[in-house]
């Protein structure tokens, strides 16, 4: 505690009991408030007389003020009993803007996507009990994708905790496995420190969500404490890695230069860790092929010729083949997820692996790294690039050229663009074509928020992201319902940007209520619904593994009229059923710059996502179409 805070506390104690009982004896709420304000004012002026500038604030005010001082611009949330003092504090200021969603899950997804789009920490406020439990899916989503987020949850009054009080849930307990850390406030005076620590923990090291649980009594308006927002934070038990080990980096640079069949495999860590620029420079310098995970898309320009596309379960033929045949794999900010590696024991049999990750627990978790480097992508890539530029050794140009010849041959043979994986000449609108048209109409420069399913994979395969932080999707948890609120978060982050939500008729119904939030805050999102009348991804698996027994993956004509639904929220609805009108209608949609437009596009129900890795085998083993495999 600072001397100023100590003085303020001493003075409040001196004013003592008589003042308190005077305040308490006021008969009306207004008089009470007035007497209280006078008291707080007299503490403040006495402090100023002693040369200390302090401000007396209640817990609720401190919380919001701390957010302001942390630089928070938007707070996504939903009010309720235990959070009402905090909501009153929000009302009495202008700097932190609250966005009222229609379901707490949406608040977490919107804050999460705000973070993905900007790199800042997303911030959420919910009430206790159902408010807190509704936020859980969104917290888990952010946790799995390592997204920095701070979630403040109201809690019942301290003395009621543990008594099964009204709307009590053990938020710290329920969220424990899906947070980076959590705090329960014990005294209002801790609030500024805890907020500071929470944001620091959320954003540093491997980012992740942090929960702050705040009992209602600790935010009460008429109990004030001297406020000071800490400038620095130090947590003795937390020292996230930054710079990688110099010796390891040197070894890695050398191995990379000596590679004859290299692949750069980059993931979400490069996007979140602002490493795209350096990665691109390094890859360009070496003329090495790059593949991205689902989370890493945009980390390397999607339209560049050195880009192989996504790898993994629905990765491109050339990316998976290149991985399998590589002699050196440079993995950066990626975590060898099982959707990437396929069977670990068959994974890249001839490759030496360099793995850069800020989290030591990601390294050698599933696939053993030959050169592990614990550090942030930004600093490690910077040092590696410098070493490569300085080095007298150069890659063997002949070897790299024949590697490219091989890769280009794979690309010619089964590439997504060179040898389409679907019927391009039929009557029906193919979902892949919708994404291609979307790319064309938006100039490849939109923020694309996605839901989960086949549409997500088509978007990942065909919308070639040239910039990081443009592709917003739930990879690790695969949360249907993420798309629309995520699009809202992106639009809040960049009010002038073009934001589209690629979704399916299944996923969109999981957070459809947010169409109302879009109305309230004028968020002109374009919803591109690939309506295949089915839980397509489920249906695809049923086609492939259950002899097309469509157990509960179809809805029997129960779908709403999405056009009318959109209209009822005050938005524009456009239905597309004919292939030849797709492009014109898409253009019409994006021409309506200040409106939410819901495009309900009927696409081929039977379409499958290909390539698809064959389970239990190596990366090179794939289905290329319904009838063709490697």
């Amino acid at each position: 505690m600072s001397p100023a805070q100590e003085t303020a506390i001493a003075i409040s104690a001196q004013l003592g009991e008589s003042t308190k009982s005077y305040i308490a004896s006021r008969s009306s709420a207004t008089e009470f408030a007035a007497a209280f304000d006078m008291w707080a004012y007299s503490v403040e002026t006495s402090c100023i007389k002693r040369g200390y500038n302090v401000e007396m604030l209640s817990g609720g005010d401190m919380l919001i003020r701390s957010l302001r001082d942390e630089g928070v611009k938007y707070l996504f949330g939903y009010p309720g009993g235990a959070a009402l003092h905090i909501y009153d504090a929000i009302f009495r200021q202008q700097e932190v803007r609250h966005i009222l969603v229609r379901h707490e899950q949406a608040a977490t997804h919107a804050a999460d996507a705000y973070s993905r789009a900007t790199g800042e920490v997303g911030t959420v406020l919910v009430t206790s009990g159902p408010g807190a439990t509704n936020a859980i899916t969104g917290i888990a989503t952010a946790y799995m994708d390592s997204i920095p987020m701070v979630v403040i949850s109201g809690q019942v009054m301290s003395h009621l905790i543990g008594e099964d009080a009204f709307q009590e849930t053990d938020m710290v307990g329920i969220s424990r496995p899906i947070v980076k850390h959590s705090f329960m406030i014990k005294h209002p005076s801790e609030i500024p420190d805890v907020v500071k620590q929470a944001f620091y923990i959320a954003r540093t090291g491997r980012p992740g969500p942090v929960v702050i649980d705040v009992p209602k009594d600790l935010t009460a308006p008429f109990e004030t404490f001297p406020y000071e927002y800490p400038e620095k934070v130090k947590i003795r038990s937390y020292t996230p890695a930054t710079r990688g080990h110099a010796g390891q980096i040197k070894k890695a640079a050398q191995l990379l230069i000596e590679a004859r069949r290299p692949v750069i495999y980059s993931g979400g860590g490069v996007v979140q860790g602002n490493g795209s620029g350096l990665l691109t420079e390094l890859a360009k310098k070496l003329n090495y092929p790059v593949t991205n995970t689902l989370m890493g898309l945009g980390g390397y320009p999607g339209t560049d010729k050195q880009f192989l596309g996504m790898l993994g379960m629905h990765g491109t033929y050339e990316a998976n083949m290149a991985m399998h045949h590589a002699d050196v794999i440079f993995a950066v900010g990626a975590r060898f997820d099982d959707r990437v590696t396929n069977a670990v024991k068959e994974f890249c049999p001839n490759a030496k692996i360099i793995h850069v990750d800020v989290d030591p627990a990601s390294i050698s978790k599933t696939v053993t790294a030959d050169i592990p480097i614990v550090g942030s992508v930004e600093s490690v890539l910077g040092e590696m690039l410098a070493l490569i530029l300085e080095s007298d050794d150069k890659p063997d140009a002949g070897a790299i050229e024949s590697w490219w010849t091989q890769i280009n041959e794979w690309r010619e043979r089964h590439g997504l663009y060179t040898a389409p994986r679907y019927n391009t000449s039929g009557e029906k609108i193919m979902p892949q074509d919708v994404i291609k048209v979307l790319h064309e109409v938006t100039g490849g420069d939109a923020y694309i928020a996605s839901d989960v399913g086949q549409h997500q994979m088509f978007a990942a395969q065909y919308y070639l992201f040239d910039k990081p932080r443009r592709w917003l999707n739930s990879g690790g948890l695969g949360t249907m319902g993420f798309g629309l609120p995520a699009a809202m978060g992106a639009q809040m982050a960049d009010r002038d940007a073009v934001v589209a939500c690629v979704t399916g008729e299944g996923s969109i119904q999981m957070c459809i209520q947010e169409l109302s939030t879009c109305t309230q805050y004028n968020l002109p999102i374009k919803i591109i619904c690939l309506n295949n009348q089915a839980l397509g991804m489920v249906r695809q698996w049923q086609d492939m593994q259950y002899s097309s027994r469509y157990s509960e993956s179809v809805y029997e004509d129960s779908l709403p009229d999405f056009v009318k639904l959109a209209e009822s929220y005050g938005h524009v609805g456009i239905r597309v059923t004919k292939k030849e009108e797709l492009k014109a209608k898409m253009e019409e949609c994006f021409a309506m710059k200040d409106r939410v437009v819901f495009m309900d596009i009927s696409v081929d129900t039977a379409a499958h996502v290909y390539p698809m890795q064959i389970a239990g085998a190596a990366m090179r083993d794939m289905w290329l179409s319904k009838t063709e495999r490697t």
Partner: protein, 163 residues
Amino acid sequence: MRRIISVLMENAPGSLSRVVGLFSQRGYNIESLTVAPTEDETLSRLTLTTLGDDHKIEQITKHLNKLIDVVKLVDLTEGAHIEREVMLIKVKAAGAQRAEIKRCVDIFRGQIVDVTASLYIIQITGTSDKLDAFLQSVGDASILEVVRSGVSGIARGEKVLSL
């Protein structure tokens, strides 16, 4: 392999549940667990024994280190160390059994800490193996109740686990 991991962590609400939660969440097993504050009230020392191959133990220590409350940890089994566990046992001790059990306690350097006409309470300290051996020699038939503290350990020599 059996490992003894010793953890120095913040003596704060919730830190123990984070450690325990980590083990159940990731499917690691805990054989025994002891925890108490240290001479520095702000820190707790936690000792746990677990089973796993090198890969698993590496993951366990990495994940423990990631917990914000964990200040430092050491895998004691990596070097020379001393391990101790305390056990209290209530046994039937009547007739000829009494002398027999008393002799057994002496051999294991235990103490009889409470006596009635028909039973003893025995206190015995040592490695977990020694306690197991004692239980075996007393035999299931006479054992009424067993309480074990779980393992505590400390590294031999100069090495210390402190701030």
